[in-house]
C-alpha cells in the first residue's frame, strides 16, 4: 500500500494522493459547447485541475446539468484538524444504570422536546422511548432516568417551564427541519430564553438532529450535540458522566 501523507491529506480516487473528486451541479443556461466550456472554466476557477465534464444534459428548458470529474492539489494537514468529539467510555445500559444509582444516587431527570414548528419526533423518540433505536433500548427503560417527553411543536417557553416544574437535570432538544437554518435559530432561542430567566447554568443542555454536530452544539452554548446514528446509550453515557462531573464540581472542557 502506498504511503499516505497525513500532513498533505488529499481525496482518493483510484490512486493515492490523486486528489480526485466528483461534482454535480446545474447552470441556468441551455446545454451547449459554450455551456460545457463555461462549466470547465468555472470548476477550474474553484481550484481544480484536470477538469472533465463527464456529463451534460438539459433539465427542463434553459438549465444544464453537469457531472464533473476533477482533481485538486489543495490538501489539509490532518493531525492539525480539530473537531470536538465526545470522548466517552463505552458502557452498556446495565452498567450505566448501576453507576447512576451508585454515584448519582437518584434517577437523572430529563425533559425532552422538539421545539418551534418542527413536527419530527422519530429522532427524539428513538433516544427517549422504551423501545429505543437500532437494538439499543431507550432512556425510559433505564432505572437511572426519569423521562418527560413533551413531543413536538413545543414552544421554547413551555419546554423551559416544564423543565423547571420537573426540577429537571437536563433538557434534551431535538431539531430536524433545517431549511433556512431554522434549527440554529431555535437552538439559539432556547439559550437566549434560559439566559433571560437566569437559568443558563441550571440544566445540562443536550441537542440532537441530523444537521447538528457536537461542534455546533458547543458553539451555541450546549453541553453536547448528537447527530445521525446516535444511540440512546451514547446519550445515557454522556448524561451520566456529566452529572458525576457536576456533582464533583469539576468542569472539564
Amino acid at each position: 500500500m502506498a504511503e499516505i501523507n497525513l500532513h498533505q491529506l488529499l481525496p482518493y480516487g483510484d490512486t493515492t494522493q490523486d486528489g480526485a473528486v466528483q461534482l454535480s451541479f446545474t447552470l441556468p443556461v441551455e446545454p451547449s459547447a459554450k455551456a460545457r466550456e463555461a462549466a470547465t472554466q468555472l470548476v477550474r476557477s474553484w481550484g481544480f485541475f484536470d477538469v472533465k465534464i463527464a456529463h451534460m444534459s438539459s433539465i427542463g428548458v434553459g438549465y444544464a446539468f453537469f457531472v464533473v470529474m476533477a482533481r485538486t492539489e489543495k490538501s489539509i494537514d490532518y493531525p492539525k484538524v480539530e473537531a470536538p468529539q465526545l470522548d466517552l467510555q463505552k458502557r452498556d445500559y446495565k452498567e450505566i444504570d448501576k453507576k447512576i444509582l451508585q454515584e448519582v444516587k437518584r434517577p437523572i431527570r430529563l425533559v425532552g422536546a422538539t421545539t418551534g414548528f418542527d413536527a419530527h419526533t422519530v429522532g427524539l423518540d428513538a433516544i427517549l422511548n422504551m423501545k429505543g433505536f437500532d437494538g439499543d433500548i431507550g432512556l425510559e427503560r433505564y432505572k437511572g432516568f426519569k423521562v418527560v417527553n413533551m413531543g413536538s411543536q413545543v414552544p421554547t417557553e413551555e419546554l423551559i417551564d416544564r423543565a423547571v416544574k420537573e426540577n429537571a437535570d437536563a433538557i434534551l432538544l431535538s431539531k430536524v427541519v433545517s431549511q433556512k437554518d431554522i434549527h440554529i435559530h431555535d437552538m439559539r432561542d432556547l439559550i437566549a430564553q434560559l439566559k433571560k430567566r437566569g437559568l443558563e447554568n441550571r440544566f445540562v443542555l443536550v441537542v440532537g438532529g441530523p444537521r447538528v454536530t457536537h461542534k455546533l452544539a458547543l458553539e451555541l452554548g450546549y453541553d453536547a450535540g448528537f447527530t445521525i446514528g446516535s444511540r440512546p446509550s451514547d446519550v445515557a453515557n454522556f448524561l451520566y458522566e456529566k452529572m458525576v462531573e457536576k456533582k464533583n464540581g469539576k468542569t472539564k472542557k
Binding site: F25, I59, G60, V61, F117, G151, Q153, Q179, K180
Partner: protein, 525 residues
C-alpha cells in the same frame, strides 16, 4: 400454482368494509351533531367571501372576521350562512358590498338586526343553491380545459408525482415547469411547515415559507395558470395538488375548487396524529371538505404512508389497511366515487431485511387488489434514506419498478437527496430520468407474470389482511376515538378533546342550524 392475482379472501375484504362502515357511523354522528368554525368559514368561502383585510400586520380573511363576529355575539348556532342571508336582507345589499362592509368595519355581522326568520332561511337556501351551481361551473370549466389536452391517465401507467417546496411560489413555478418538461404529471406544492396550525388561510401570493410554500388562493392561481399554459407545449394535462389538512380543511377545499386544483392531500388522520389537531375538529372539517372535493371532481389523497414512518413498517401493514378502509368509508359518506380516492401507502420497510422487496410487492399488489378502482398513491422510501444519495437512488429504482408492476395509480417520486433537503431542480430531474426509464422499460410487465399462490408474497399479503380484520374488530369494539388514544395508528396517542383547534367545535341544534350544502352536495350524513 400461479395466478394473475394474489389469492386474497374476498369474504374477509367484505367483512373489513362492513366493520369500517360501522366505525364510520361513530364519526358520522359526531358530524351530525356538531359544526366548527372552520366548516362555517368553508361555507362563507363557498359564498364567494374570499377577501382579506390588513389586521395586526397580517392579511386576515373576511371569512374569519365574520365567524369571529358571530361567535362574539353568540350567533353561531344558526350557522354563518343564515347570518349572511340576514345581513344581505337587512341592508339590502349584494355579497360584494357586504364583504367590503365587513372588511371596512362598517358592518358587524354579529350585530345586524334579525329579519323575519322564515324569509331569511328561504333566502339562505337560495344563496346556497347558487353557490353550489358555481361550484359545478368551476368543475365544468376545468373539464373543458382538460378535454383539450391528452390525459396521462389514459396511458395505462402510473402518474408521476413530484413536489416543489422552495417556499417561494414564483421559484416553485420555475421548478415545476422544469419537472413537467422532464415528464412529471402531478405537481404538488408542499405547504410551509407551520401552516396546518394556522386557524386562517393566508391571503395573496407568498414568497417566504419554511420547507414549503403557503397554501393560498393567490398561490394556487399562480401555479395553476403556469401549468395550464404548459399543457399545449408538452401535450398532456398536468395535475396540481396541495395540502388540505390542518385547521382549515374545508376553506382550502373551497379555494382549491375555485382555482381548479385536481387533487388535495386530504386526511384528518394526518392532522390528528402528526400535527396534534383536535380529532373532532378535523373530522368534522374533513367531511365538508370532502363534499366540496366530491362535487368538484377533486381527488383526495390520503396519508397512510406516514404511519410507517413512526412505526416499524414491516408490522404496520394492518393499521395502514385498516385506516384505508376507514378513509374509504368517510369518502363514500361524502358521496365520492372510488375513482376520486387516491388512497395512500408507501414503500417504507427497512431495506436491510431479507426479502424486503418481496414484502413490498406483496403490500403494493394487495392494496391494488383491495381498492381496484382507486388511483392509489404510492409513496417512495423516505425514512431509511440517508445522506448517501447513490444508495437512495437505488432504492428509488426498486420503488419505481414495484409501482409499475403492481399498477399503482400515482407514484410519489423518490429523491436521492430525501434525507438532506427539499428537492433541488437537479434532484428532481435525476429522479424523473430514473422513473422514465423504469416505466417505459417495464410497460405491460404486470400482464406477463403471476403470483405463486402458495408463495411468500401470497402468504405475507394474506397475513396483512387477516391482521387488519382483527384490528378493525378491535377498533370497533373499543370505539374509534378510544382506539386512537390507545395508539392503534402510527404508534401515536391522541385524545378526543385534546389537540389544537378543539375550541372551534360547537354543538348544533338541527332545527335552528342551517347548512343546506350537505344535502345539495349529496352528503350521506
Amino acid at each position: 400454482m400461479y395466478s394473475k392475482e394474489l389469492p386474497l379472501n374476498e369474504r374477509k375484504i367484505a367483512r373489513c368494509r362492513k366493520i369500517a362502515a360501522e366505525i364510520g357511523n361513530e364519526v358520522a354522528s359526531l358530524i351530525h351533531q356538531n359544526s366548527t368554525v372552520g366548516t362555517e368559514r368553508g361555507i362563507l368561502r363557498m359564498l364567494g367571501l374570499n377577501g382579506a383585510l390588513k389586521h395586526q400586520g397580517l392579511q386576515y380573511p373576511v371569512a374569519n372576521l365574520i365567524v369571529d363576529q358571530l361567535k362574539e355575539n353568540n350567533r353561531l348556532q344558526e350557522g354563518a350562512l343564515f347570518w349572511v342571508a340576514n345581513a344581505l336582507l337587512a341592508e339590502n345589499i349584494q355579497m360584494d358590498v357586504l364583504e367590503k362592509g365587513i372588511a371596512g368595519r362598517t358592518i358587524n355581522i354579529g350585530k345586524v338586526k334579525p329579519q323575519d326568520t322564515k324569509k331569511t332561511r328561504k333566502f339562505a337556501q337560495e344563496l346556497a343553491e347558487k353557490a353550489y351551481r358555481n361550484l359545478k361551473t368551476y368543475r365544468e370549466k376545468r373539464k373543458k380545459i382538460m378535454s383539450h389536452q391528452k390525459d396521462p391517465l389514459r396511458e395505462k401507467r402510473p402518474l408521476k408525482y413530484v413536489i416543489v417546496a422552495t417556499g417561494n411560489i414564483f421559484e416553485d413555478v420555475t421548478q415545476a415547469k422544469s419537472a413537467v418538461h422532464d415528464g412529471a404529471d402531478i405537481i404538488a406544492v408542499i405547504r410551509s411547515t407551520a401552516q396546518s396550525l394556522l386557524d386562517y388561510v393566508p391571503h395573496g401570493t407568498t414568497t417566504e415559507g419554511f420547507g414549503g410554500t403557503y397554501a393560498t388562493q393567490g398561490n394556487f392561481r399562480v401555479m395553476r395558470e403556469a401549468l395550464d399554459a404548459m399543457g399545449p407545449e408538452v401535450k398532456r394535462y398536468i395535475r396540481l395538488t396541495n395540502y388540505c389538512s390542518g385547521l382549515c380543511m374545508s376553506e382550502i377545499a373551497a379555494l382549491a375548487s375555485l382555482e381548479g386544483l385536481d387533487c388535495l392531500l386530504n386526511d384528518a388522520m394526518y392532522g390528528i396524529l402528526f400535527r396534534d389537531i383536535n380529532p373532532r375538529r378535523t373530522l368534522i372539517d374533513q367531511h365538508f371538505s370532502r363534499l366540496i372535493c366530491s362535487v368538484s371532481g377533486i381527488w383526495i389523497m390520503t396519508g397512510e404512508d406516514n404511519y410507517m414512518k413512526t412505526t416499524d413498517a414491516v408490522k404496520a401493514g394492518d393499521q395502514v389497511l385498516a385506516s384505508q378502509f376507514i378513509n374509504e368509508v368517510s369518502a363514500l359518506n361524502a358521496g365520492m366515487k372510488p375513482e376520486q380516492m387516491s388512497i395512500g401507502h408507501a414503500m417504507e420497510m427497512d431495506p436491510a431485511y431479507e426479502k424486503v422487496i418481496l414484502m413490498e410487492i406483496a403490500r403494493a399488489q394487495m392494496t391494488r387488489q383491495i381498492f381496484p378502482k382507486a388511483p392509489l398513491k404510492y409513496m417512495c422510501a423516505t425514512k431509511y434514506k440517508s445522506g448517501d444519495i447513490f444508495t437512495a437512488h437505488a432504492l428509488d429504482t426498486v420503488f419505481n419498478l414495484i409501482g409499475s408492476m403492481t399498477n399503482q395509480g400515482v407514484l410519489l417520486l423518490g429523491m436521492p437527496t430525501e434525507a438532506i433537503h427539499t428537492p433541488w431542480m437537479q434532484d428532481r430531474s435525476v429522479a424523473l430520468r430514473n422513473i422514465n426509464y423504469v416505466l417505459n422499460g417495464s410497460l405491460g410487465l404486470s400482464q406477463e407474470f403471476g403470483f405463486n399462490t402458495e408463495g411468500f408474497i401470497a402468504k405475507f399479503s394474506q397475513k396483512v389482511l387477516d391482521d387488519c380484520l382483527t384490528l378493525l374488530e378491535k377498533i370497533h369494539r373499543d370505539g374509534f376515538f378510544k382506539a386512537i388514544e390507545k395508539r392503534v395508528f402510527a404508534d401515536v396517542s391522541r385524545t378526543i378533546n385534546g389537540g389544537k383547534g378543539a375550541d372551534g367545535v360547537f354543538e348544533i341544534d338541527r332545527d335552528v342550524y342551517l347548512n343546506p350544502f350537505f344535502k345539495l352536495m349529496g352528503s350521506k350524513i
